[in-house]
């Protein structure tokens, strides 16, 4: 009885894990679609920003670019917080402070800086999304392995044990019945 109760519990758990697996798979597929789109857009924007920075360096010279870049008042400050989807924890990046330019940048450099700043959020979001997709993929793998182990190994072995016990019990009760019948027959014969 205990074994049957336990296997019922395991089967219900397996069903939950299957639901989790399906949900994670759906999340992962959606994430991959978004990642593909965002990544190619970001790469295009990064190329644009890189071209602008390169042009600024060639136009102004490296010393001037470095000097003007030093007038950036505060660097980028980030806080990484935990978030969870279906129990999967992933990092969430919160921008505490964005870089601020204190000097009068040459327009060549300010264009480049504007392009880099514009994609900063995209870079952070993509990093967050990639980490999320990676964790979901990990968890999906683990869940899948658990479901497979439960479905293919643990549950069948429990079922085998239960069947063995049931067969044993059936056998014993049959023996008992036969014994009872033999005893009953013997007693009847003695009365006669």
């Amino acid at each position: 009885m205990e074994m049957k109760r336990r296997i019922g519990f395991i089967e219900r758990g397996t069903e939950f894990l299957k639901l989790k697996r399906d949900h994670l798979a759906k999340e992962l597929t959606a994430s991959i679609e978004v990642l593909k789109g965002r990544r190619s857009l970001l790469l295009e924007n990064l190329r644009g920003a890189y071209r602008a920075v390169t042009a600024a360096y060639i136009s102004l010279g490296p010393t001037e670019v470095r000097s003007q870049a030093s007038s950036i008042k505060a660097g980028l400050e980030l806080e990484v917080l935990p978030r969870a989807v279906m129990g999967v924890r992933y990092p969430f990046i919160k921008v505490e402070k964005k870089p601020q330019i204190a000097g009068e940048l040459d327009i060549t450099l300010s264009e480049a800086a504007a392009k880099v700043l514009a994609i900063l959020d995209d870079i952070l979001q993509l990093a967050e999304f990639e980490a999320r997709a990676e964790r979901i993929a990990d968890e999906l793998g683990k869940t899948n392995r658990k479901v497979n182990a439960l479905e293919n190994t643990i549950i069948p072995s429990y079922r085998q044990v239960i069947k063995f016990i049931e067969d044993k019990l059936d056998e014993e009760s049959l023996e008992e019945l036969v014994r009872m019948k033999l005893i009953g027959g013997a007693l009847a014969r003695r009365r006669e």
């Binding site: 042009a55 060639i58 136009s59 490296p62 010393t63 007038s71 950036i72 204190a102 264009e111």
Partner: protein
């Protein structure tokens, strides 16, 4: 004592032969590597350059090209008659000094170590300040600015309040740029009337484009309560009304199309946001002005000015190529932003 203008003109004619041709500049940009670039440069008047490879090679090369330009300029200044020498010194030295002062102020503001600030300075002897070291060693950028009292840059101290108010450096940088523009126009008076035309054309073309770029940068930024008259103390071919129109324009294209040549052609890359290309176009335009000025008067001051203009543009192009080579930038991306190869 100066040997006279004629001697300087002949000397400038002779020195022109040392300048790199557009073809040579193109070849340098097309070298596969930095080593190839240095190797190719060894066959020119620059000779073999050896740089300390411990640090950033592009910075070391930039310094070498600046030194070469300053040597060329000083060779002319030393020989030129007092008025022309004085103008050239003021025109170039004042500009370089303003760049150095901006670098010192930025360096002090961001707490860069003193040797690094000194390293970033253009290698000139101080022109209108006593010593750069004194400014660099100040406790803060404010202290550096205060140490300018008693120099022609003393008015900068007044901009400290604005700098405090906005917690930014731009009020100081704008004030320095205005001081430089004023000094250049004042120094023009040292030249004889007949020689001012070429310099005036160059300065005005540069100022017009620079003003327009500043106006374009102001578009959409409403946080600065600057009046156009304050932002643009000197305007020429592009008037203050046009600049005002540019600041308020939704579409910059219509404003640029309304400008007269050469500005409507020079500023076209602004449509695509490629401001660096405008810089190379204005350099090409200045190169052309100098070349035409020299053609118009091949026996006067125009030749001297043309030689120095060509030299400075050569320096700027070489700095760009050197950086591009250290970064492995493809030749076509470097050539796009060079002035001399495109001036053929």
């Amino acid at each position: 004592m100066s040997p006279g203008l004629s001697y300087v003109v002949i000397k400038s004619h002779a020195l022109m032969a040392d300048l790199l041709t557009p073809e040579q500049m193109r070849n340098l940009a097309e070298r596969e590597s930095l080593e190839g670039f240095v190797e190719q440069l060894a066959g020119t008047s620059y000779g073999r350059i050896s740089v300390d490879t411990d640090g950033d090679v592009s910075l070391a090369l930039e310094k070498v090209f600046y030194q070469k330009f300053i040597e060329r300029m000083m060779a002319i200044v030393d020989l030129a008659p007092a008025n022309i020498g004085g103008f050239l010194q003021s025109y170039y030295y004042q500009r370089f000094e303003v760049i150095n002062l901006k670098r010192i102020i930025r360096g002090k503001y961001s707490g860069i170590p003193i040797p690094q600030i000194v390293e970033s300075l253009i290698p000139i002897t101080p022109y209108r300040v006593e010593s750069y070291e004194d400014l660099v060693e100040a406790e803060s950028f404010k202290d550096s600015v205060r140490r300018l009292k008693g120099t022609p840059y003393a008015s900068l101290v007044a901009s400290l309040d604005l700098s405090d108010k906005y917690d930014a450096l731009w009020p100081l940088e704008i004030a320095l740029s205005h001081l430089n523009a004023g000094a250049v126009f004042n120094s023009l008076k040292r030249l004889p009337q007949r020689d001012r035309g070429l310099v005036r054309k160059i300065v005005q073309a540069e100022a017009d484009v620079e003003n327009f770029l500043v106006a374009a940068k102001q578009r959409g930024s409403r946080d600065r309560a600057h009046r156009p008259e304050e932002m643009f103390p000197a305007t020429y071919g592009i008037t203050i009304e046009m600049l005002r129109e540019a600041i308020g324009a939704e579409d910059i294209r219509s404003v640029i199309e309304g400008l007269t040549p050469p500005y409507n052609e020079i500023l076209v890359p602004l449509y695509e946001g490629d401001v660096a290309l405008i810089r190379s176009r204005i350099r090409q335009h200045v190169y052309d002005i100098a070349r035409k000025g020299r053609t118009a008067n091949d026996f006067g001051f125009n030749v001297v000015m043309a030689y120095l203009v060509f030299s400075e543009i050569e320096k700027d192009d070489l700095v760009g190529i050197a950086w591009g080579k250290t970064q492995g930038i493809p030749a076509e991306d470097i050539l796009k932003y060079l002035a001399i190869p495109g001036s053929v």
